[in-house]
């Protein structure tokens, strides 16, 4: 049995100066290749959860920490953030917080230089990533001149270039237009094929549900739901936890209220359309 990439054991964390803990007694494991979608109301502890994964908590944020977080078998308390960051790539909610270089190309090479890779390898990976993320024509542009979506793409590209064991994205579509958000989902599904373990924090579940293998729901710092999308999203109490369920699911829940239950829980429009049209054609045959 391979070791889980993430092993969180009874973690509670309260920020200094805050009256209530942001994360309360959370325990879970994430295995290699899982794509985990994390959701919940604003202020429910989702970003704190991300900070646990790359050691920003307890190393950077002051507060009361209890429990243990193991990343690839190593206790995050025992290694500094810069060592952990080789294994855990974090893409922030606001890309301005992580772009530091004077050109897109330099931005991507920056992390690779810090990994101490040979020059040829840095050039090879940078070229590959620029093409893979469609950033080739922007290579000489300073990040501050990019649009919100391009910045987010650059931030993601720079992190993916480092080939982390675990990729953590905190509201990655916040600044993206819908088509760019879908393209991001496509890029992530390709990374999933390469067995990258991915954690995505999002309110807008419509885009990422089709590629998630598991959904976590936080409420007031507690992990209140944990399971496959079909199981978690079709819980009609979910909206009371501040979760915007995908519209496809909402529609099926409404249909159920109206007495129509479909045989398969559809997570995509095409699956829903398939079922509805076969249902109606079977009616026509009668």
């Amino acid at each position: 049995m391979p070791e889980p990439i993430v092993d969180i054991q009874n973690v509670t964390f309260k920020y200094a100066g805050s009256s209530a803990p942001a994360i309360v007694d959370v325990s879970l494991q994430i295995k290699r290749g899982e794509v985990v979608l994390v959701t919940g109301a604003s202020g429910s502890g989702k970003s704190t959860f991300c900070r646990l994964l790359n050691g920003l908590i307890p190393h950077f944020y002051e507060g009361e920490f209890s429990g243990c977080v193991f990343i690839n078998g190593v206790d995050t308390r025992t290694i500094p953030v810069y060592v952990l960051s080789k294994d855990v790539g974090l893409v922030f909610q606001n890309p301005d917080n992580q772009l530091v270089s004077l050109s897109v190309e330099r931005e991507i090479a920056f992390g690779l230089e810090n990994l101490g890779l040979p020059r040829e390898e840095i050039i090879k990976r940078t070229e590959f990533i620029l093409k893979y993320f469609g950033l080739d024509r922007l290579r000489d542009v300073p990040p501050y001149k990019l649009s919100g979506g391009e910045k987010q793409r650059t931030a993601l590209a720079a992190v993916v270039a480092m080939r982390p064991l675990l990729l953590v994205l905190d509201e990655p579509t916040a600044e993206l237009d819908p088509m760019s958000a879908l393209q991001l989902a496509l890029m992530l599904s390709q990374l999933r094929e390469m067995e990258t373990t991915i954690v995505i924090v999002e309110h807008r579940l419509d885009v990422f549900t089709p590629l998630a293998t598991r959904i976590l729901v936080f409420s007031e710092g507690q992990l209140v739901r944990d399971g496959p999308p079909e199981e978690v999203l079709f819980d009609s109490n979910l909206s009371s936890l501040g979760v915007s369920t995908p519209r496809v699911v909402q529609l099926q829940l409404k249909l159920e209220e109206l007495g129509i239950k479909l045989p398969i829980k559809a997570l995509t429009v095409s699956s829903l359309v398939d079922q509805l049209s076969s249902a109606v054609s079977s009616l026509d045959l009668r």
């Binding site: 604003s42 202020g43 909610q93 606001n94 979506g149 819908p178 760019s180 529609l251 509805l276």
Partner: protein
């Protein structure tokens, strides 16, 4: 009324960001401004309260040409909530953040603070009154930035990506807030990429911006059901429109509606609203 008349804009020595843009925001209007990343939406927003001045053409706010009036004057009429809330915070706690603008409007210390607390309550942020803004979560920061501008009761409110980080309940509350302002005869311009939320907002009109030009303007039903238009702005249709299109293609007719309730009822009616649809079909 805000009137944008044949405006062109470019940043120093840069390419043209807005190219001959004209737009009217009437009192009581809820207007959606949508378009791809980099289409010029935020630049247009900054022209409306005088933060930027047009290179050619003009922007007139209630009869005031923005080139002839200061931002300080204009921002009392046009409130702008930027996309990244942390760009505007400077006070030591959330209550002070909201009270600052109110004091500038001439309210006394206590009056400003009382009003700030009541606005924080409206935005579900009362428990953070004495918390530093940068200790809030991303979504809460966003709400605080809206609250601090809303508190000044501008006649026109511009919201740049207001749903970022907001959960279902907060998104619904945002719609109520926008329509509360509309009921008072105020106008709200919303810039968003959140197509689902936008399609349920019930805006008076949608303006599509692409590469610095207004490429379409119309009622939500006309814009959201136009695949070609949406695609040209890097937008994807809401699920309701996708369902309508795919079901129609299969001869399953449902009403052309952005309302999921209407869709569900019509589907249920068609399927007899009876029992479980059997797994064998």
């Amino acid at each position: 009324m805000i009137s944008v008349e044949r405006v062109c804009f470019w940043y120093s020595r840069g390419a043209t960001v807005l190219d001959d843009v004209s737009l009217t925001i009437s009192d009581g209007d809820v207007v959606l401004l949508m378009g791809e990343n980099g289409s010029g939406k935020t630049t247009l927003a900054k022209l409306l309260n005088g933060l930027l001045k047009p290179k050619s053409g003009r922007v007139v706010v209630d009869g005031l040409d923005t080139r002839e009036h200061s931002v300080a004057e204009l921002c009392r009429i046009v409130g702008y909530v930027p996309q990244n809330p942390e760009h505007q915070f400077f006070a030591e706690n959330a209550a002070e953040e909201v009270a600052f603008g109110l004091r500038n409007l001439g309210l006394g210390d206590k009056e400003a603070l009382d009003e700030a607390l009541s606005v924080l309550r409206k935005f579900g942020l009362e428990r953070y009154a004495s918390t530093p803004p940068w200790q809030l979560s991303g979504g809460e920061m966003k709400r605080l930035s809206i609250a601090s501008v809303y508190a000044m009761q501008p006649k026109y409110l511009i919201l740049d990506e207001p749903t970022i980080g907001q959960d279902a309940k907060q998104k619904k509350a945002l719609i109520d807030l926008i329509f509360g302002m509309k009921a008072e005869g105020k106008a709200v311009l919303v810039i968003t990429h959140d197509v689902e939320w936008a399609s349920e907002l019930g805006a008076d009109k949608v303006v599509l911006l692409s590469k610095g030009k207004v490429i379409a303007e119309g009622v939500p039903e006309d814009i959201f059901f136009n695949y070609t238009l949406l695609k040209s702005c890097n937008l994807v249709p809401p699920v309701s429109v996708d369902l309508y299109a795919h079901l129609s293609k299969r001869g399953f007719s449902v009403p052309r509606s952005l309302d999921y309730g209407v869709l569900a009822e019509s589907i249920a009616l068609k399927l007899g609203g009876s029992s479980v649809v059997s797994g064998s079909i």
